[in-house]
Point group: C2
Amino acid sequence: MDENHCHLGHKKEIMAVHDAMDVLNGKWKISIISSICYYNKRRFSDILNDVDGISNKMLSKELKELEINKLIKRTVLDTQPISVQYQLTEYGMTLQKIIDNLTAWGLEHRKVITGK
Amino acid sequence: MDENHCHLGHKKEIMAVHDAMDVLNGKWKISIISSICYYNKRRFSDILNDVDGISNKMLSKELKELEINKLIKRTVLDTQPISVQYQLTEYGMTLQKIIDNLTAWGLEHRKVITGK
DNA sequence: CCGGATCCCTTGCGATACTG
DNA sequence: CAGTATCGCAAGGGATCCGG
């Protein structure tokens, strides 16, 4: 793209990044998505275990927000007692590349902050 | 990798994602990085303009945190009056792929929420 | 121009306890 | 098991003013 045509600079891109982060805000949201993403299907208590330090209140709240944003799908299983299964929607799966990159970066970053 | 060897499941990866987000937390941090990233070099007032809605207080605060984490470098220019230039460190540049993915996703997401 | 300091309201979110 | 309800502190963050 020709820079001379860029009247607004990169404002559009910067706003796009902000839009993305709006959906992924909250202390735990990305970790939750990762958990569901890595396991494909995941139950409430499983995620509670996957994500270190999260409380059931926060998990419930952020799951609900993710569902509203159509990133995950909630299914009540007819077991005894009931269990609830979460999985990514097709739309949610478009986040996979971001998750992968964040994982890779996070692994490297841990080396940097501990290894030095 | 063989799943049978995965005693801890994907906990390591999920923690890595969380680590990454720890550095990038805050309402504005990723937008700030994007601004600096897209322009290569960027001054305080420029970023203030790029990132819609941010206050100078928040910008100052989050820039400082990013500098502490070695993601950006601060340079005072000897102009009159002084100006301050920010740029990504080499380490900060390793975030570029993530920024690009977030931008792409955000642009698509905006279509989804407005276009439907 | 680049911030720091102050004031003050709002939100996040942890702890705990309780329900179907 | 999968949540909800309530409390309460701490942090987030906007507005405004000030100083180098």
